[in-house]
Symmetry: D2
Subunit: 184 residues, 4 copies
Amino acid sequence: MNEIPTIPDWQISQWFNTSTPLTQAGMRGRVVLLHAFQMLCPSCVSHSVPQAERVHREFAESGVSVIGLHTVFEHHAAMTPVGLEAFLHEYHITHPVGVDQMTPGEPVPVTMRKYKLRGTPSLMLLDRAGHLRMHEFGRVDDLHLGVAIGRLLMEEKPMPDELQRQSVRDGRTTNCDEQGCEVS
Amino acid sequence: MNEIPTIPDWQISQWFNTSTPLTQAGMRGRVVLLHAFQMLCPSCVSHSVPQAERVHREFAESGVSVIGLHTVFEHHAAMTPVGLEAFLHEYHITHPVGVDQMTPGEPVPVTMRKYKLRGTPSLMLLDRAGHLRMHEFGRVDDLHLGVAIGRLLMEEKPMPDELQRQSVRDGRTTNCDEQGCEVS
Amino acid sequence: MNEIPTIPDWQISQWFNTSTPLTQAGMRGRVVLLHAFQMLCPSCVSHSVPQAERVHREFAESGVSVIGLHTVFEHHAAMTPVGLEAFLHEYHITHPVGVDQMTPGEPVPVTMRKYKLRGTPSLMLLDRAGHLRMHEFGRVDDLHLGVAIGRLLMEEKPMPDELQRQSVRDGRTTNCDEQGCEVS
Amino acid sequence: MNEIPTIPDWQISQWFNTSTPLTQAGMRGRVVLLHAFQMLCPSCVSHSVPQAERVHREFAESGVSVIGLHTVFEHHAAMTPVGLEAFLHEYHITHPVGVDQMTPGEPVPVTMRKYKLRGTPSLMLLDRAGHLRMHEFGRVDDLHLGVAIGRLLMEEKPMPDELQRQSVRDGRTTNCDEQGCEVS
């Protein structure tokens, strides 16, 4: 029997662009694009954050909720909530963004560890029932992301027998490269 | 009662990249991306033709058939079938392309007139039942095209009550611009 | 009589990517590309900072010195020297960068005020004699920048009768846009 | 003793965008950007032809003359003068373009053979005295092209002792690739 993968709820110390904290349960019935990023990760800044913002602006009314997760695992003194707030302002980011909860003495934040993210950017798609249906590290091109979102939007009920597509790209050894920034 | 829009079959004088002529009936059960272009239309060359080729290469196995329609309505002496063949070779285009049938004394070819195309590039999506579900003039971005394809791939049967999305962009008066080339 | 414009020396509170403080006098005999930026200015991050880095990497040996000036005039708590250091690391910036000196109670830093910069990005070219020969606000395309650098590299002596090209682009009212971030 | 490289005059069967035939002698005193292309060479269409057009539009008044050379060495039936004329019209090319003279029974045209061009795109820079100062096969980036042009614009007299920079990029075996189209 194939179990449908799910992810535990995110743990957020501070929210931006939303007046109330968001939960997975509150998203039920909608397709959720969850993207993990760092404000100083070049590939996030040039590709994944603006891509997520476009999905938010163009498909929120069609049933897609976009949530950013600021998963700082390096340069903590540089990527503070104050820094993030300025970043979101300057880049005109309007979709909700939560700061992943830190644990004292642990460089990788809580949600990032629970989700076993490889680094930033990471992109996850949850279906209307809250099941994890796509999980990618690195850049995802618009065409593939669009097809995946289009498919999920057509589902009225979760598809229990569909397997999770957990495609993780070839790793690189440097900290940040064209693909993104990896936890070492 | 809403009628579902259909389009008559294309009329082709010569095919490339296929050993047998293609018909709409032969596509039943598949999602069809039909794109009209001219080999000397800058926006087609830089955007719509390579986009169509990517859809062909990446989603043919998922049930999408991509067909190019060479709808020459200007510079006929420059955009001949011999020219088209060289173009397809040099640009590494592998999806089937048909030359829209000309009528003596009429600059706009037959299929282009029957489909009332505004110019090139034009993009049409047909669902698995052969109904016209999207019709756009000018550049369509990858994200929107992907979502539209993803939705259609999830349909087992045509949706008779769904309206055609016939979104035509704002017109320009010049012959060829950033958006494409228009019939004047 | 035309006077040749000069600029006073920069005032820097902290240097990165250089073991010794840099001065204009120390640059005599070389062409200097001086670019003012902020680490959260989108147009700087996507265009002017990587452009300056390319000039540094490809033309340092030909006689061009590239110096970045971190002129923070907004979001001071977000764009700290610690933040800048992480930014330079993640974006692989190897050319010298100085933090423009702040004055208590004044949001615009010292050098930025002395140079009467309109905002970020700003680009200045100094000739081998230290005269200001180009001063632009906003994006400068590679072709124009290259021609300007090529011309200055050919000068053995300053050209006293050549007028300063002080071309400032049309202003925008928003804080940060495609062009850059302006002091309001 | 270093001889300064020169090139013989181009041999043109038909000119576009000029009312009188152009000769090297007629260019004396100006910097000349000579670029060889084919209208169905993807790298020419996307990069080198629009780059040459920008140089023409932005630096003609500064003393740069841009000349295109249509050097068809393959698909001759597809890249006719009629085809070229439509191409120049659709792509809004306004700088002079000459069709390289063909010899019966020889696929590579006359000027292309005399200049020993490796393929398309090829870019040559002639100084004000008519000496060949740069010769590149494949894409040349704007920054390097700009610096080279800027340097030549500053020369009042040719520099007899300066060596020709004949940098030819690494070869590829396919006919047309990202870099350009090569004579096989």
